[in-house]
Amino acid sequence: MKLKTLVMAACTTAIVAGPAAADLVFPSLDYRTGPYAANGIPFADGYADYFTLLNQRDGGIGGVEARVLQCETGYNTERGVECYESTKGEGALVYQPLSTGITYQLIPKATADDIPIHSMGYGRTSAANGEVFSHVFNYPANYWQAASGIILDILDRNDGNLEGKKIALVYHNSAYGREPIRTLQELGTQHGFELIELAVDHPGQEQRSQWLQVRRDRPDYVIMWGWGVMNQVAIQEAVNIRYPMDNFYGVWWSGSENDVLPAGEGADGYRSVTFHSVGDDYPIFDDIQEHVVDAGLASGAGDQIGTVLYNRGMYAAMLAAEAARTAQDIHGVAEITPAMMRDGMEALEMTEERMTELGLPGFGPEFSVSCQNHGGPGESAIAEWDYDTQAWSIVTEYRAPDMGVIQPLIDEDSAAYAAENDLPMTRCPAEDEMMMSVEDILAEMRTIGLRLDELADMLEAAQ
């Protein structure tokens, strides 16, 4: 029974390796290897560096140190599950798997384990419906809002008329890439454009035939839903067939420096939708330089700071830290549990004032999360790549998505999930109900700056 011994050895290692220190654990299911590493590395670096900054500069969150648990998934769902199982026992507060496939896998598991998931700008779009998905959040924006954001920009450039236009969608043939199709089809019937769907199989290195089709069909616009090596190849192929770059749009996962640099000058003018700002012109980067980079604590090679995906990883970490802070305020404890973290995420409010305090003025749109709406407003802007300055810049305002199209789709898909899994459709208390839920009372107390123990004292005094 050699196997059993091995298993027991592995088991003991796992037990020995898990220290029970009092800290806030943020697992980072990242990938620094494989065909998606080029995009996975900057995000993971940004995520880790932000928590390092908090620990170094402020001594953690609310006085408790944050600990980032890295686990390599390679963008593979089975390894993602292994990572989830191996980290959840350490008190993981929130999972951000950075993979739509892994998110799908974790939604039921994490909900059963009472641990929240934050799939920022990816994952299951209909998780925006908090009535059904109690533990899944995808604020501040989701795929369908991205699709709408791109179409809004195309509408703007065509005076609001897309009648008879052809738009091609080049997508990663996976749950991730297929997410926007329904919305784009819906928008297509509404605005009268024809949608051409071109699937690219994992990992996306071979796209000759898809771009041949683009050359043949001559779509007016091409939208890309790619990730990893697929992005670089698609942009290179578009350059090869001389497709006009300003008519080529990427989702926010297809719009980083790694994606456009290999194509060189040809990629100039490539556009991508985004839900946060770009560049390193924010006060927080001085702090990162001082407390993280100069202290030699930068994650990875430390060469990604200020890139699009680094910023996104940092933004994800910032939202997680803010949610943890909110949870600490609500429950009046510094060492929060995953369940408390969930409450914090549900009560999260990002204001311009708070972002300025954090050194990120105007970095993203203001938003607030509620029990019903786990998705946020979904405002997005368009960024454009400039080859000469080697930088992305935001070229439009943040625009609200066409929720008239998206909300029915969200309701439909989340209702299907609820039916499949026998979940209640109305988890949240109705707004006009007289009885306040515990969460509402807590949120109310938080706004007037009251702590639980203070309330108890008051009640005692009143008696």
Binding site: L3, T77, E78, E82, G89, G101, E420
Partner: protein
């Protein structure tokens, strides 16, 4: 000293043809079964089940299935991933179409459906052999994955093309879905592994297994002595696909809970299972288990040791993992080309003589 027939008298034909004729062997396997069924479930944690035991058990079934086809019948197949997908999608369709049907029967039905598909793709084996057959099964792999991606009916037209397993119970205990207790999913898989391993053992000792091996060793000679190649090859394809279908079904419903065909059942799964039987040993039941354990456990143990215990960077460990696993595969193939099973056989031979080797 060990594994000796001496003194182990058989007084009836039933005794003589039992599954494990050597008394010591029999006792060891019985002890292992008792341990696996009655002791292990009590020490199961979420992590042990979800990261180690379930993939091991499920891949052991797949390896058994492929071993029947490739190891015993000599037909090379690269379609394992595709056949696992057939099992998974049958399970999904059956689960959603018949919510009241017990998951136990759904898994078996999925195996039967996969057996049918396997026979269909096994037909070319009657005309082509060796590498050419491997290419034909490769076509099955790509065709099946393409089909499950393309035809919306298979995934109930869900927006993302993902299939996810709703909660189903056996004897009141949730087996699939997020609320399944680790020991329940473990036992559910173990029952299948135990039954199928026993079945394989007896199939391969009997007429069917012997005709498979005859075809494997020399098909023309086998035909001359009266082995029907059509029936033999297709039965190997059917039974092998039945096993692989069951493993695909369990892989999706019990282990993953949600799957996407391109990622979960791609060509790399076919290769993974093929590596398992090559490393474990072609034409050996023990080899199927050893190979599955090797391929499933080694990466996890390496990760636990280097990343969690020593604390090296995760990307370094991931690269190191490739190097070590790849290196070990090459090492084993050079040192023991017949797999871990042959190593075990040598040990057994030595043990028979020990401590007096002359």
């Amino acid at each position: 000293m060990f594994y000796r027939e001496a003194g182990d008298y058989k007084t009836s034909y039933v005794d003589d043809s039992q599954t494990f004729p050597i008394a010591l062997d029999r006792r060891i396997y019985m002890a292992a079964a008792v341990l696996a069924f009655l002791v292990v479930p009590f020490v199961m944690t979420d992590y042990l089940v979800n990261a180690i035991m379930m993939p091991f058990l499920i891949f052991a079934i797949a390896a058994l299935g492929l071993n029947i086809l490739t190891g015993y019948c000599g037909q090379v197949s690269l379609g394992t991933g595709g056949f696992m997908a057939v099992g998974a999608y049958s399970t999904y369709k059956l689960m959603t179409a018949f919510p009241d049907l017990n998951i136990f029967f759904i898994v078996i039905l999925s195996g039967i459906i996969t057996a049918g598909v396997g026979v269909l793709f096994g037909l070319p084996s009657l005309r082509i052999k060796g590498f050419y057959l491997a290419v034909a099964t490769l076509a099955a792999q790509f065709f099946l994955v393409w089909m499950f991606n393309k035809v919306g009916w298979f995934y109930n037209y869900s927006a993302s093309g993902q299939i996810s397993a709703p909660e189903r119970t056996v004897l009141g205990q949730a087996v699939t879905g997020a609320n399944a207790a680790p020991w329940v999913s473990y036992l559910f898989c173990l029952v299948f592994v135990f039954a199928l391993a026993w079945l394989t053992r007896n199939l391969t000792r009997g007429r069917i297994g012997r005709s498979w091996m005859a075809i494997r060793d020399m098909d023309i000679a086998a035909e001359i002595i009266g082995v029907n190649p059509l029936r033999t090859k297709l039965s190997a394809f059917a039974i092998s696909s039945f096993y692989i279908g069951i493993s695909g079904s369990l892989f999706f419903a019990v282990y993953l809970g949600a799957a996407e065909v391109g990622e979960a059942f791609g060509i790399q799964k076919s290769f993974l299972v093929l590596f398992m039987i090559i490393i474990g040993g072609l034409g050996s039941i023990f080899g199927s288990f050893a190979g599955a354990a090797f391929m499933v456990l080694l990466p996890v143990i390496l990760k636990l040791f280097f990343a969690d215990f020593i604390g090296w960077p995760t990307d370094l460990v991931a690269h190191l993992n490739f190097i070590i696993v790849g290196g070990l595969i090459v090492f084993f193939l050079i040192v023991e080309p017949h797999g871990l099973a042959a190593l075990w056989r040598t040990i057994k031979e030595k043990l028979r003589l020990w401590p007096f080797p002359h």
